[in-house]
Point group: C2
Chain length 282, copies 2
């Protein structure tokens, strides 16, 4: 049985733990700076035990599933205290800052910058689900900076959980992910805020909310501890995207104010083409 | 068997047809100004036949499931050509314009302003699903303007399909629905546009899109024929809501530009409270 350390027992770390344990090939040791989550994870059987210092040198691999603001320090810590045979990958939603921080680390070649495109709006160990990664995409950044054998092991582990790996440069990853993930989270949070602001005075407004509303504000339930550092660390790309979004909203407001029926209809018909793209997303 | 006429064989009209036919108590006759949809609906067995003029006087009830721009004319047409025993209800997403138009019609008491809070992002007869209304809310506006017996029949028909009816004034309905439905549709359409604009140059961006993105842009697949008139006819309320949304987005941009970590975290944590509200939506 291979020994894997997982740092962070939330939605992502917990789901890796469950999925790996289901294969029957791994023993899982976990660490979490939240003692309640740690105890919950072990009580739930997500892990075989707590990751104690003395086990670190025996680990085959380490998965870092912590918020992106604390990730670089923890990445360095584990590159320092694990042995030459140990691979390490993170699961963070942004990659450039970590790539820069680790660039000159003597053990950089044992690290894989990795981002599984999988998640839900829930958080903590109880949010973990074993099939979270099945059929999903995993993005690996700057693969040339990792030792080929270490990279292969991490690629195969993701394949074992049903994922397909793609390779991308870290700065490209961060620029694109602002569009297809971070913007969705901001739009959803702010949509939630806008409706809650009025709801304070209008108690029965949510009676009228249907599945469309639920779908667009689903991500407003996401964890502030996870998402605040993501937004701040991908600030430059996210601001660019948010300004484009606000510009497009203002264009729509202008069309609406001027009763430009045909232009609005053409705009919406054009946007409809996104349907075939969305239908391909799992 | 009761005879029901359904005008419009799209998602909503088609789903009413299927649900009513499943009860075994209704014969359904349909009309659609799109001949392809009409033939499709009949071929699919959504209806027992086309609604011909001579059947109109025999109908027990009429359901109007047409875009809100053509709805007032069609509502008047059917109030004029059906008999005293025939109830009529619409299913439109806005109510004030129709309420005003019908206010002084001599047969106003046979009409129920009705809005089932149910739907999907798909359109046309093929989008119809028999269980669409099961467990959902139906909003009936200005119930005092309808004859009590007619109102009871329409209320019971919705209950028969598994819905719970609520009563509201038309102007209140339109104001609230802008927040919990129309805003979601605009935010989703414009999110889709923003991402598609950049995708023209970046072909592989959608590789990185996960379920969160799919959820927030799902409504961008909605029909322009349905939604353009809704947006335009609820323009005043929608503009107010859209401006509040853009203001809140600009506040977020400002917090992000100034790296206000604690304020962003508190904002998101506050918005998280919407979770328990969303969880109650079916």
């Amino acid at each position: 049985m291979k020994k894997i350390g997982i740092i962070g027992t939330g939605l992502i770390g917990g789901s890796f733990a469950l999925a790996l344990k289901q294969t029957g090939k791994y023993r899982i040791f976990v660490r979490d700076n939240n003692p309640e989550h740690l105890n919950q994870a072990i009580a739930m059987g997500l892990a075989d035990g707590e990751l104690r210092e003395r086990i670190c040198s025996e680990l085959d691999g380490v998965i870092l599933a912590v918020p992106v603001n604390v990730l670089p320090d923890i990445a360095e810590e584990f590159l320092n205290k694990t042995k030459e045979h140990t691979w390490i990958f993170d699961t963070g939603s942004i990659k450039s800052n970590l790539a820069r921080r680790l660039k000159n680390h003597p053990a950089r070649k044992r690290f894989v910058l990795s981002h599984p495109i999988a998640g839900t709006e829930y958080s903590g160990p109880k949010a973990a689900v074993p099939g979270l990664f099945q059929g999903k995409i995993n993005i690996i950044c700057n693969p040339g900076e990792t030792d080929k054998k270490m990279l292969d092991k991490v690629v195969k582990l993701h394949e074992e959980l049903g994922m397909t790996n793609y390779f991308l440069q870290a700065d490209e990853h961060d620029k694109h992910i602002a569009y297809v993930s971070h913007l969705s989270h901001v739009s959803s949070f702010i949509l939630g805020k806008t409706v809650m602001d009025v709801e304070e005075n209008e108690q029965n407004i949510f009676l009228m909310a249907g599945s469309g509303f639920a779908s667009t504000v689903r991500l407003a339930k996401s964890s502030p501890e996870t998402w605040t550092p993501i937004f701040l660390h991908n600030k430059e790309a996210l601001l660019k995207v948010l300004k484009a979004y606000i510009d497009n909203l203002n264009i729509f407001v202008d069309l609406l104010e001027k009763d430009r029926e045909e232009e609005i209809k053409n705009l919406l018909a054009n946007i409809n083409k996104i349907g075939k793209i969305i239908d391909g997303i799992k």
